[in-house]
Symmetry: C2
Subunit: 336 residues, 2 copies
């Protein structure tokens, strides 16, 4: 009968791969210790980063679409928000989603696609900037999210960063992107539904409970006055790490000045450490709600793009990760 004889001792102390599920959602990974790699195995060659033809540098403002917003210092811009020249969504068309003949569900890809140029200094990365400057970048995101959500046709504002070609960046000058559009993304919907189910059963925020478990686990990385960082149990990427504010807030906009400054300092610490591996391409995802009553806990996910998702990942949704989060946490804690 199925599921009876299920213990097969491993020969020769061969290390085991482990199948793991995300804390809340139905996302699975295989932590492939059998293929385990050390941090230095992931050293990535430095990418070309020439300031000469950079559209995002001071003096080239005329090459970009008209500016939306800027932060100044000594009457020069230090952060600049512009529309994306090749937008994924535009504020025209029919935003309402319709279904024809059972199978064809569509709408115009309605919304706004913006670029946040994070510094006027070409070649500096987030981790090279002063903590106070990073805080100003986060404030810029908060301001833009608020503005964009004023359009009643916008359902969700996605804030993310692509660094390096393998992470989808086509321009090297450090920047983030904002896509506000007419759909609640299925990945976010799944996360919200799962945390809602947890709330109904436990009358507590799922993420608050995860934090209280992980802050003392083998995956703990960082504890500051207002933040907690850990490598998630079902990490999809080598050295994946999540950063949370301790206080329960659904969105980044609810953080106060102290919390935002501390959050910026923690982000800087994490990215500085990550840089030790080499020129790591990564994405930063902002999981943030604007509805304060949402069953959600704001956090960011930092995803180093050191592996390629192949046929198995695309077919099954199960992601093979050659670095266990426990090893990744040791790296971040300077224990390896």
């Amino acid at each position: 009968p199925k599921r009876k004889l299920n213990i097969h001792p491993t020969p020769n102390n061969q290390s085991m791969n482990e199948l793991r599920k995300d804390y809340l959602t139905d996302k699975w990974v295989i932590i492939a210790s059998v293929r385990a790699k050390r941090p230095h195995d992931f050293k990535t060659p430095k990418e070309e980063n020439n300031a000469a033809n950079c559209f995002f540098c001071p003096g080239k403002e005329y090459t970009t679409p008209p500016e939306i917003y800027r932060v100044e210092k000594d009457s020069k811009w230090i952060i600049r928000v512009i529309p994306n020249k090749f937008p994924a969504v535009i504020p025209y068309g029919v935003s309402e989603i319709k279904t024809d003949n059972s199978f064809y569900t569509y709408a115009s890809a309605y919304g706004r696609h913006e670029i946040v140029i994070e510094t006027n200094e070409h070649g500096r990365e987030i981790e090279d900037l002063p903590v106070d400057h990073i805080k100003k970048i986060l404030r810029t995101f908060i301001f833009r999210i608020d503005e964009l959500m004023k359009d009643p046709l916008i359902d969700y504002v996605s804030v993310f960063k692509n660094k390096g070609k393998s992470a989808g960046a086509s321009i090297a000058h450090t920047h983030s992107q904002i896509i506000a559009y007419n759909n609640i993304p299925s990945a976010i919907k799944n996360e919200l539904e799962s945390s809602y189910r947890y709330y109904v059963l436990n009358k507590k925020c799922a993420f608050c409970d995860i934090i209280s478990k992980e802050k003392n686990s083998h995956r703990r990385v960082l504890k500051t006055k207002h933040t907690i960082a850990f490598t998630p149990y079902a990490s999809r990427f080598p050295f994946e790490i999540w950063l949370f504010p301790k206080r329960h807030v659904a969105g980044i906009g609810e953080l106060n000045e102290d919390e935002l400054l501390d959050f910026s300092a923690s982000l800087k610490k994490i990215l500085t450490k990550l840089k030790e591996i080499g020129n790591v391409p990564y994405n930063i995802l902002f999981h943030s709600m604007t509805d304060k009553s949402a069953n959600f806990h704001f956090h960011i996910e930092i995803l180093p793009r050191l592996t390629v998702w192949a046929g198995f990942e695309l077919e099954t949704g199960t992601i093979i990760n050659p670095v266990s989060p426990e090893d990744a946490a040791k790296f971040y804690r300077n224990e390896m």
Copy 2:
């Protein structure tokens, strides 16, 4: 009130991007015609492909783990199945899935990970092989799926091909992979649940109905005696294409000799055409069930890996695709 004023005429006949949902599941894409590219924009540099140090070539059999199966011609192997030297899953450990403390769901990554070396001729790709040889490869998959499913601890057998580095291939000699493991993947579960819901409502196979719509749509590509190919409405990748047998079968193992030969010929035609773009990296996914009564219709998905999923895709699950499936179908139909 929300959703009222939702028609915003596009200025200057600017082409529109479209938000689209998959036929059945909650997977969304943005077809970004604004960023549209022509086939030749995707030309990919040829990768190094040196036979000298190839572990998969004849004469190097001693470098691989012990052979599992072979197909011979003139007493030489022409197809060879071997265990993966760096397996994602191994047939040891505790296969049963458990949950500790609400959040930690895990099992050993139990199963078998095999490589199918598709020809003894280094440098030849699937599309270079005779149709009858391709059929023998498919027969090999069928044989291995049947064998692997005999282990009661195996829940699903994933068959897939990675071609090119951007598609996750580390060895150039043409091969596919088989991962049999102790979980029904969430992506497959979603597909099965959606097609089951459709069946309950309509008493018909969802995929049979999709085929009957798409065979005459702008996305049609190929009709043969036993097969249909089209570019899916919510294509995630440029030039993504799906190939179905016309007859309703849940798994590849149910196809008869004629159907399998015709299916092989159609696969060869599609890959031959795709090659015109250049050295396209791609994955082939086999969506195939072993339970004949499953609400499913066997098909393969060919996914050219010509774009990188960036922060937006990873955060939202919404995939930006710069080539519309209607344009991709024109390419396959030799109309562009």
